[in-house]
């Protein structure tokens, strides 16, 4: 009996980790600036490629993953400086610009590195409970997702940066008038967002084949989570991921991956019909 329960939890944890890791970066950028970064998938791809490249050079996997996340974050800062910063007053245009960027990056990668790169296997290790065996790495991913949530909580609730960042989220003009350097907040949060995307790619790199278009595997999940989560990262993204993971886990188990994804989309369309502002709007209102 406990084996069945654990199996259910394991499947839930798998989907939940995937949703949180792929959506966290997007949610921060969206919550902070009201901008959805269409090149999010490409930052994920970047993280994965850097990880695999470093591992193939002989760097240990965990260090390679951290370096990959940092690289993606730094590239994000450069992108913010060159492109995104001009568009804070025109969010739709920023979407188009980052989409253009995404096309350029994906297709250039296809031209330069071709479609196949030597992968690295999933770290070995599995354990058994009852008659089921589970991969340890999947649980590591779940742990990372929880760690990301805790880390974000600490950054946004316990630090000075967090206070100013939340003020910027609520009313950027007012925060600026009170002396917050909103420009710097934007750069840093865009960097954190893309760094988290890189981390997602780095963590999933050992589990999947690397192709330049792999970003697309993540984008639906991340967009959908952010859309029903709403603008607040902590109050929106995490509950949205729990909700979607429940739906997906159930459908995956009984009908397979495709139905799981389609069912998730239907759930999203139904949720936004009822809660156009996303889950976080309801939770924030309750909290007051």
């Amino acid at each position: 009996m406990s084996a069945e329960l654990f199996s259910l939890f394991y499947q839930f944890a798998d989907v939940f980790a995937f949703l949180i890791l792929s959506a966290a970066g997007l949610a921060i950028v969206f919550g902070m600036m009201g901008v959805i970064n269409m090149a999010h998938g490409e930052f994920i791809m970047c993280g994965a490629y850097v990880t695999v490249g470093l591992v193939n050079l002989g760097v240990p996997l965990p260090i390679a993953q951290i370096l990959a996340a940092v690289t993606a974050g730094l590239i994000g800062v450069v992108v913010e400086f060159l492109i995104v910063r001009r568009f804070y007053k025109r969010p739709l245009d920023s979407l188009l610009a980052t989409w253009g960027l995404s096309l350029i990056v994906t297709q250039s990668m296809l031209l330069i590195v071709g479609s196949a790169v030597r992968g690295i296997g999933t770290p070995e290790g599995s354990f058994a409970i009852g008659e089921y065996t589970f991969s340890t790495y999947r649980l590591v991913l779940f742990g990372c997702a929880v760690a990301v949530l805790i880390g974000l909580y600490i950054i946004f609730m316990k630090t000075r940066f967090g206070v100013i960042a939340r003020a910027t989220m609520q009313n950027a003009a007012m925060a600026k008038a009170l002396g917050a350097r909103t420009g710097r907040i934007y750069v840093v949060s865009f960097g954190i967002g893309t760094g988290l995307a890189g981390l997602c790619g780095a963590l999933y790199a050992p589990t999947m084949t690397l192709i330049p278009t792999m970003g697309a595997t993540f984008v639906v999940e991340s967009f959908v989570t952010v859309v029903i989560g709403g603008a607040n990262v902590l109050l929106g993204t995490a509950p949205a991921a729990v909700f979607l993971a429940m739906i997906r886990m159930t459908l995956n188990a009984s009908y397979g991956q495709i139905i799981g994804q389609i069912g998730m989309l239907f759930a999203v369309i139904l949720v936004i019909r009822v809660l156009p502002e996303g889950l976080s709007s309801v939770l924030v209102r309750r909290g007051r």
Binding site: I83, G100, I272, P276
Partner: protein
């Protein structure tokens, strides 16, 4: 009726514009006499996408709804045509298959649009939801390789794509080459005129009013949601028309004509051209499709890189669109020449300023 064609929501007006229009149309009509039929067929091929671009222009430029997922409807109608054409048998029924598949795309747009518009979704979310639907459809169709995925005798075939449907035909006469070309030209002219009349009619005025300020339009007593849904359904129906025509032209469709790079294309065409005017979209999309086709011969990936760069450049340098901007410059230059004013830059600057305010 001419008043509707020449109304305030469309930029191309007056005698000069319509003479240019007739001249271009005449060139298009006599073109097959001078080219070989292979080139004419290719030409017809990239006219197929003009409908999707015009539909997006209506939704985005006039209605203010940016859908990132026009290939969703392209795909539904494209696959719809394939399934229907195979199931109903060839010949004249292919025309019915074309019409039905466009209707299916419009119904899909009606359902998706109902949930989004009545849910109060706008701006970024509108695009994200349509794009998600598109990617899920592409993902789903990519998984349908097995023999269990079939509708009647029509196999979906996963990533390898669906094939084996008949091209458009009347009886035993296959509409190919110049016949298809003339039909495409006729359809484009009809759609273009119809859209011009729509946006210049009172309905079009409400659509534009909704784009400018939904609350104000609502206060004036219009149910803006109905107008938005109408715009969405028409725009998506046009994307569906492109899809059905695409499948019938090549007797082939794959999930890759729905996925991410494909979904970005209509946005690039319309953004580059200038979304706020139908004529600019028509001209710009045509130019881009022509260019894209030429570069694709050398490398598909390079062509897509260029499209991405073009989108980025448009948004950063000319947010209103390059074709529209250049068109306005030409018109400005022309009117100034017509007046034969003594070149007084000060007076000119003053006139321009008062025009803008």
């Amino acid at each position: 009726m001419f008043k509707l064609l020449d109304g305030p929501q469309t930029l191309g007006r007056g005698k000069i514009f319509w003479s240019c229009f007739l001249a271009v149309l005449a060139c298009a009509l006599i073109y097959p006499l001078f080219a070989d039929s292979y080139d004419v067929g290719n030409f017809a091929y990239f006219l197929i996408w003009i409908f999707m671009a015009l539909g997006l222009c209506l939704m985005w430029g006039y209605g203010g709804m940016l859908s990132f997922g026009q290939t969703f409807f392209f795909g539904i109608a494209g696959y719809g045509y394939g399934v229907l054409a195979i199931n109903m048998g060839g010949g004249t029924t292919t025309i019915a298959a074309l019409v039905l598949s466009v209707l299916i795309a419009m119904v899909a747009a009606g359902i998706l649009g109902y949930f989004m518009i009545w849910g109060g979704i706008s701006g970024i979310f509108f695009g994200i939801v349509t794009l998600s639907a598109t990617l899920v459809l592409a993902f789903f169709l990519g998984q349908t390789a097995g023999p269990e995925w079939h509708i009647g005798p029509a196999r979906l075939n996963g990533f390898n794509g669906m094939k084996g449907m008949d091209p458009l035909a009347i009886g035993d006469f296959y509409i190919e080459g110049s016949a298809l070309y003339y039909i495409m030209i006729a359809l484009i002219v009809i759609v273009y005129f119809a859209l011009r009349m729509l946006v210049n009619s009172s309905v079009g005025n409400v659509i534009v009013a909704t784009r400018e300020n939904p609350q104000r339009a609502e206060m004036l007593g219009y149910d803006v949601r109905k107008y938005q849904l109408l715009t969405f359904v028409i725009g998506s129906g046009l994307a569906g028309l492109s899809g059905a025509l695409y499948t019938s032209w090549g007797q082939f469709i794959t999930p890759s004509s729905i996925g991410l790079p494909a979904a970005a294309m209509p946005i690039v065409w319309v953004a580059f051209s200038g979304r706020s005017d139908l004529t600019a979209t028509l001209v710009g999309s045509f130019l881009l499709l022509f260019g894209f086709q030429t570069i694709t011969v050398y490398s598909q990936q390079a062509a897509l890189v260029l499209m991405g760069a073009l989108l980025l450049a448009t948004v950063m340098l000319a947010p209103q669109g390059f074709v529209l901007g250049i068109g306005k410059l030409v018109v400005d230059w022309w009117t100034r020449r017509q007046r034969r004013e003594p070149a007084s830059t000060l007076a000119d600057a003053g006139r321009l300023q008062s025009d803008e305010t």
